[in-house]
């Protein structure tokens, strides 16, 4: 019985030691945390994708030309 307890303790101790030595990035991430990560990056990627298709506002070209001096460069 005492051996069983000692054995269980040593297993638990070994687990804690190994956990403590592993870098934070290697530790297990809770499932809900992973789902949040996935949801965030998916939403972020969708917004990036929309931004890649964004076009300059209509009429910008005309507004820029109106602001450029009328005198030709030549």
């Amino acid at each position: 019985m005492r051996d069983d307890v000692r054995s269980a303790r040593s297993v638990e101790q070994a687990r804690h030691t190994a956990e403590g030595e592993r870098p934070a990035s290697d530790r297990e991430v809770p499932i809900d945390g992973m789902q949040r990560d996935v949801a965030f990056w998916r939403s972020f990627e969708e917004q990036l994708s929309a931004r890649r298709r964004t076009r300059a506002p209509a009429g910008l070209e005309a507004r820029i030309m109106a602001a450029i001096p009328m005198e030709p460069l030549g």
């Binding site: 300059a56 506002p57 820029i64 030309m65 460069l73």
Partner: protein, 188 residues
Amino acid sequence: VSTSEPELLVDQDDTDQRIIQRVLAGDRDEFTVLITRYSDPLYRHALCMTGSPDVAEDILQLSFIKAYQHLAEVRGRFDAWVFRIVANGCKDWLKNIRRSHLSYDEDDQPSGYATPDEELDRTELRSDLDVALSSLPASLREAFVMKHVEGRSYEEMADLLGTTVGALKMRVHRAREALQALLEEKYA
């Protein structure tokens, strides 16, 4: 064969260099072709860097005016040259808006807003993307946007920004880490 398609106004085969020669020879209106050709990617860059459509439009307008006035100085590719003007305009704007807040703090005068980002939030409803990008330092934001929005290669980015591929890979990596940290903070 008749077609209902509108006639193409921009001849894609007409090189930038030929257009520049015509503008320099006195044909001011030809400059419109260059604006049409590059305003979309340049606007996207300015929008990602500033998070504000109004500011992005102002930066584009000032950049194209500057480009027109200094057109005779173009050496090499026009698109790379005008990109640098816009990119510098964005970085100057970010510096100025931060400096204006620092000066308020130094003078102990109430600015009305706690941070430049809050100032933007007050005037415009910003997307999560813009809020996240605004949390990054300008150099990381610039590298992340050029890589993940504009889809440029590291070699092209290095050429445009005058830095090394290694430095840019590090900036993009740090930007991703910062965005991940932001996520963890948001959901902690």
